[in-house]
Amino acid sequence: MVQLVLAVALASCGGPLSTLSAAGPAADAIATMWWVMLAGSAAIFALVLGLFALVILRPGWGSSVSPARWIVLGGLVLPGVILTPLVAYALVTGERLLPLPGTARQRIEVEGRQWSWTFRYPGEGGVKTVNVLHLPAGMPVDIAVSSVDVIHSFWIPRFAGKIDAVPGHVNVLRIQADEPGRYEGQCSEFCGIGHPRMRFAVIVHPANDFSAALAQAAASSKVKE
């Protein structure tokens, strides 16, 4: 069963929006965390179901262990041993992903609305793009997310986790793309009829080409307007 689960899981990592085909350090750290937790969970699942099978199929098998020991070992020791390091691991991982001030060279302002995304680049002369996010490769970028109407959520699964775009609030998410290329992002908070269509393209440029590429993209989209 466990092997089957693993096989299915491994076979299904890919896809343009897959959290498991990480293309940035944050998504990578979280994907590693997932694999660790999956392995641990599979072991605990096998243990619980194995015990259930044993006590049913071999009556009397577990009766030599006193009731108190059953409860202490399974109910207190087992979760204690597993959860304490897990919580610490998650805390450290989470801290590393935080947008600490002064450590990102780019800050991009994102505004969600029903049903499109607007991206502003204060560091690049305040140019603006709609539904296409341009990023420099290999450097941390802080994304400041807000909304003008209802709650949306900004999510590029291959780079990092999501952050909600809440009207009246500005939330900051740290992302970094490892390699230049084309990626996809989407809204992950239900925001009305157009919610499934609220996707955006992410174009990652080599860091030294970024300003030029962004200026060109912004200009050409202005012409189109």
């Binding site: 299915v8 899981a9 343009p16 937790m37 009556p59 999501k162």
Partner: protein, 843 residues
Amino acid sequence: MSASVDRPPQRSPALRLHRQLAAIWATGPGLQRLAAVNHSVIGLRFMATAFIFFAIGGVLGMLTRVQLATPTADFMAPETYNQVFTMHGSMMLFLFAIPLVEGVAVYLTPKILGARDLAFPRLTAFGYWCYLFGATILTGALLAGVAPDTGWFMYTPLSSNVYTPGMNADVWLLGVTFVEISALAFAVEIIVSILKIRAPGMSLDRMPIFGWYMLITALMMVAAFPPLILGSILLEVERAFHLPFFDPTRGGDPLLWQHLFWLFGHPDVYIIFLPMAGVLSTIIPVLAGGPLVGYRAIVVAIIALAFVSFGIWVHHMFTVGIPHLALAFFSASSAIVAVPTAVQVFAWLATLAHGRPRWNVPMLYVFGFFFIFAMGGLTGVMLAMVPFDWQAHDSYFVIAHMHYVVAGALAFPMLAALYYWLPLLTGRMAMNQLSVPAFWLVFVGFNLTFFMMHLTGLRGMPRRIYTYSGDEGWNSLNLLSSVGGFIMTIGFALVVIDLLAQLRYGRRTRRDPWKAESLEWAMPIPPAPYNFASIPFVRAGPDRTAPEGLAASLARGEGYLGFVRNGWQETLGVHMTSGAPEQLIVLSRPTYLPFYTALATSVAVLAMLFQFYLSALAAALVVAGLLVLAGQSAGLNRDYGPLPVGQGVSVPPHTELKGSPPWWALIFTLIADGTLFVSLLFGTLYLWVSAPNWPPAQTFTPNLGLALAAVVALVAAATAARGSQRSISAGGMALGWIGLAAIGLVVVIAVVVGLISGIVPRPTEHALGATAAALLAYVTFHAGIGLLFLLSNLLRLRAGFLSSRRSIDPRLTRLWLDYTVVSGVIALGLVSALPALVRSLGT
């Protein structure tokens, strides 16, 4: 009426006693069914109605699976899909899961605790009608195409009148709140019944484990529902009257809604799970043929679970922008919740290990539960880890998790319970030929449907999308989920056929087919409306009562109350902890009042829905009138003193005792009310501290004179209520005191309304004004209810229901007014302090 009271009660042979009791307890035929108040009747109605909504909700779920089976499907329009998925979630949680749990509790609790009924039969009935009418309104909206369409957790601002202008969201807010009234009524009733109405000798440490689970569940409901009820009221007020509690452009905050919703929403998961865990803790020992292992550990675990479950709601909000260290706290507490759950799981395993388990249909479902719940619990721990949740949140991974937990923890134990207790209802056993394949279809279908969703979620599929383009890598997983959904549906259909077949063709069974040792098997099969012809004395520990010999003896009337008297519906009230007989509880007879009151309530709800606010107010006044009227037929209209209850014991009727059920009911009602008030205070301070667009351009100068006048009038009213209590206890009429209290309350209302009109910014302009108005409205409302208490006191005094011994009414009034004073002083104080607070730290 009182002829037989002074004579020693007569022993009757079993059949004669049965006929006498049945004549008193039976629900009438035909239209008189609307007057039913019996817990067995209402419990069955609750469960049957819940199953109907399970079927409707299930069909809605299947519709979403049809739409999502293939990319770019146009099976449903987006507008329809949004209504369908919203109603699927809302129905399954609010119209199926909670009412089902209530039905199980209403039906089984008195039987397991050795009682004849719950404490407030008319309230049971009222709760059921509220549920039925509220659910009907929601279903009607679905048929009319105006069902809620903003997701079952109704996030603002999407659900505000700006972005959802139709009545769709109002249907949810009003309909669900209506159903929640029923849930709160249920919770108060169950708590009081478990604490006060058990078989004599059943001290708390001898109470069946099922009773503990239901007690903790009901206590959790008392604390968990008020935040959602408050949130729903505030959002409805924002939608209808434009007070900006959640509108960020006017000083509100959409995150406040999320806090209030999940303050309810997370404990709600355990409110659904705990009763089913209670079912498992009851039937696993029976199937294992031995006692439950770790009774005390389980009791401690579920109490701990109840507390911790109120400290983890923020794990639904890891992506809204709360500081990481705060998230880490909620992450750790969410992980800690695994401990009490693991204690229960291993107590069950140890119970099986120390017994000789029998393999049968209920056990098959116990296996299904172990498999699915273990998986759901493990993904729950994963989601509690903040970084992983940043990825998985709002994706299909969460859908998979919550179906494994909620559906797994509810559906499989529920079916185990059905197969286990149906012989009690029908006197027949299931036929394995159909039951076993039905189980495997449900089990395989369930896992196929929802296991795939873990993977679709990890591959980035967000929840609540009606379509996808097909190049995301989600196609085959979605198709498999949909196929699994159909297999599961066929399985459920087979279960229904199996249960119907059992009703008709099942093998007839003797009493206690599972060799259980709990009291519900010590009664006739199917149970008589009075449950026990006489009430047993419990001598042994929990669930060790050996029904076999006991049942016949009880049927012959050899326990307590094995006779009839005055045509009363009698049951025994006991001391809360020791279980010593304490009072004779005389229950109310069948009446149409609950039906009419619920009907009037639904008229009020419908009038609000169609924005006929004056009609709504009129209907609300009718409801208030009916509630006062209900008080005119409660209790006894003369003093009796101690009455014999059998076994040489005499106890006074509940009307002549201070710790009678109404007293405790009001205490727990006030705890719920207090939770709502604390939520309102939290909301006020939350908006001030963290909402955008504060402070407002200008703020009012607090009118300290008026506020002080209101406080003085409040205290005067409460003092007068004390005077009235003293006067009635001394045998007086207390008319002057009651009048004085009423005048005090009228003054309070007038002054507070004056304060509301002086608020700047106006309540519609800024959240400061809105929250101040809400706090003051709270005071006004409580003063108004206080007037109803006084009116009821007056009427009942004149009708002879009160005497120096029967003085519960003025004590209830005093308690209510004491609460009104305390909450009123806090509310008035906060409103007066708000402008200064805003000025000092407002930015």
